[in-house]
């Protein structure tokens, strides 16, 4: 399982955005579920060192973007479920917008060829 090579580390800020988006799509989810989902969606190209997720979840909860409570998982295991709050929905919206803008700008930089500037 030595597939670290070729996988990208996740920047902290990006991870928070992914968590918000995941919760937005799937509804309340426990930490392991969020970690798995992020891996699946990224096509297993992103290796979340799964533990790093928990400090991020804590930070988001402190900011009021998500809330959490103990519940029972699909196979009847006790797990802590995280859900998106109203504040988090707003944050997701604005951060998605910012991210798209940034991506668009960077995309334009790569699209420009030397000839275009003449």
């Amino acid at each position: 399982m030595d597939e670290k090579r070729g996988k990208k580390d996740v920047l902290q800020g990006t991870l928070a955005l992914m968590v918000l988006k995941t919760l937005d799509m799937l509804g309340p989810l426990h930490g392991y579920g969020i970690a798995r989902r992020i891996e699946q969606i990224s096509g297993d190209l992103l290796a979340v060192n799964q533990g790093t997720l928990y400090p991020v979840l804590l930070k988001l909860e402190q900011e009021g973007s998500i809330s959490s409570e103990w519940g029972a998982s699909e196979n009847n295991r006790r797990a802590r479920f995280y859900r998106l709050t109203r504040v988090g929905r707003g944050q997701l919206k604005s951060e998605t917008h910012e991210w798209e803008q940034t991506a668009a700008i960077i995309g334009r930089f790569f699209a420009v060829k030397a000839e275009d500037l003449k």
Binding site: G31, Y32, G51, L58, K59, Q62, E63, R78, A79, Q91
Partner: protein, 264 residues
């Protein structure tokens, strides 16, 4: 706004350390259990399933550390720890504690009282004969002169006639002197001199002004109530500093009648 909310949460959660620590431990356990189960289903041996799960999770202790740092404000927690440690140590050696507390208490007390004394005797007193007996008549802290008007409050400025009435009919004060509400610039030139007149700030005061302060002149004489009559020759008192700095402490300046005039 979000940052503020987070700051308050972190400040508050310094108190709930144990509970939060347990929650993180429980969450990590749950997480590993999920992962082990998935690994088992993928066909790994139980030992290998657990090993892979832990590996994938990452360094648990450093994550816990990170979690803790994010949960509280680290410096507040450190401070609380230090205080608790200090108190514990102090409780263990009462003799030392008493010595330190007494030393500090006496030291602080002594310095404070000495400063209070010096402040009252030296720093606070005016250079007049009986500062404690001196009062300024007015209702506000900044009273009795024109700039007091800027405070939109009672300026306590009285007319010269009213002052004379107060002076002659108030029994409770030894003297009641008056000074002008605003300052003036006086043009001053030694009589007969050809130099241009110098301009110095000054003000008109009542004849008993210096008597009230109990002051004596370094040279010449100060104003007296006899100077307060209509038709009396005009006299002025020059400050010691002005005499030194502008007239070179020249003894001939005493009594030399100078031209003075109101410039405004």
């Amino acid at each position: 706004m979000r940052a503020l909310r987070r700051f308050l949460k972190r400040l508050g959660s310094s108190a709930r350390t144990e509970q939060d620590e347990q929650r993180l431990r429980a969450e990590i356990e749950e997480h590993l259990a999920f992962q082990i189960e998935d690994n088992l289903q993928a066909g790994l041996s139980p030992d290998e399933a657990r090993r892979q799960a832990v590996l994938k999770f990452g360094a648990i202790e450093s994550i816990k550390e990170d979690y803790r740092d994010k949960r509280v404000l680290p410096f507040v927690e450190t401070l609380a720890q230090d205080v608790r440690y200090t108190l514990r140590r102090l409780r263990k050696s009462p003799a030392f504690t008493v010595t330190v507390v007494l030393t500090l208490a006496l030291g602080i007390g002594a310095t404070t009282s000495i400063f209070t004394l010096i402040h009252a005797v030296i720093l606070k007193s005016l250079p007049v004969s009986n500062p404690a007996e001196l009062f300024r008549l007015g209702t506000e802290a900044r009273c009795c002169y024109w700039p007091a008007y800027s405070q939109d409050k009672e300026a306590s400025i009285v007319s010269y006639d009213l002052y004379k009435h107060f002076r002659d009919n108030t029994q409770d004060f030894a003297e009641l002197a008056a000074f002008q509400a605003g300052g003036n610039l006086f043009g001053v030139r030694r009589s007969g001199a050809r130099e241009a007149a110098g301009s110095f700030p000054g003000e008109f005061v009542s004849g008993n002004y210096f008597i009230m302060f109990g002051l004596n002149a370094y040279a010449g004489r100060l104003l007296a109530p006899s100077d307060d009559r209509p038709g009396a020759p005009s006299v002025a008192v020059m400050s010691y500093r002005l005499w030194r700095e502008r007239y070179g402490a020249d003894p001939r300046s005493w009594g030399a009648s100078s031209t003075s005039m109101r410039s405004r």
